[in-house]
């Protein structure tokens, strides 16, 4: 049991928390944060798991860096959209509106 594995396990916990938030919370920004938490969890696992086995491994680190950029891009896009959505409709969640009988983010 190395500390790397601990990172990975913590990542698993973060994933669970993030997932919960993503599914349960309705405020869009919170959802977005939950997504980021989950993303962090994934990155932790990604970095932690291989390093636990074969020592420092630059490849997952690079991957995670790329992943972070992608996540930032996605977050930014989401924020832009949410902002405009709020501006147009005055709402912060997707649920409970007329014209949208579908609930939840899926």
């Amino acid at each position: 049991m190395t500390s790397y594995l601990l990172y990975a396990l913590a990542g698993a916990a973060l994933c669970g928390i993030g997932l919960f938030g993503l599914l349960r919370l309705s405020h869009l920004l919170r959802k977005l944060l939950a997504f980021n938490i989950m993303g962090s969890g994934v990155f932790l696992i990604m970095v932690g798991l291989p390093q636990h086995q074969s020592g420092p491994d630059p490849v997952p680190q690079a991957l995670v860096l790329t992943g972070i950029v992608v996540a930032i891009a996605a977050t930014a896009l989401a924020v832009v959209l949410i902002r405009r959505y709020y501006h147009q409709s005055g709402m912060t969640s997707l649920e409970g509106e007329a014209g949208s009988r579908e609930g939840g983010p899926l």
Partner: protein, 233 residues
Amino acid sequence: MIRAVRTCFIALACIAFSAVLAASIWAIAGDPGQGTLPQLLSENMSRSGVEHPVTAVLLNFRSYDTLLEIGVLVIAGIAGISMSKTTSLEDPELRTSDPLLYALQRWFIPLMLVLAGYLLWAGADRPGGAFQAGAVLAATGVLMRLGGIPMDFLRPGLLLRLGLVLGFSVFLLAAVVSVIGGDAFLAYPPDMTKPLILVIESVLTLSIAMVLLALFVSAPVNDAEDPEEGDPS
């Protein structure tokens, strides 16, 4: 009531998910290591043109990932500027004028610019690189924004768009230039690897900063919208 039950249900599901995930991680961790990749990496480091392995992976071995990643970032930037109302990305209503902040900025901004330059440079042999530098650069911009410095130069005009894609375009050109020499896409000419990576890193820093800045500078939202198809309007 239903809400609570639903919450419980989701919570249970998420806990179960975490548990299964952890179990899987444990199981995988229990297996003997398979990876020959770090070894392979270190064997090829000399040909990568940089000393730091992460940068080597990012900008040489797996540069295609990075190229596309920058593309993703550009997309986000495009989406951001596509919704701005005015010719400037800045919302004048949010502009503050606090003398203290203004004074602080005069200290901080040059410092941060230097820091960004350093990070960029450091990427060659230790942690650091274009993205980190770009992030710092963007942070500088955010700081300026918060401090009330007018940022009218961020117009969603040709210049801004050029700035957004500058890094990406240079990267792309570097990727394709080798093809003319009959090599694979993204293969750098052997003797030019290091300078090329440096150039790419530099312009990427600029572009990343530009994108982040464009996204985070609170542009006023455009009210105009397309009618939905078929709406008689």
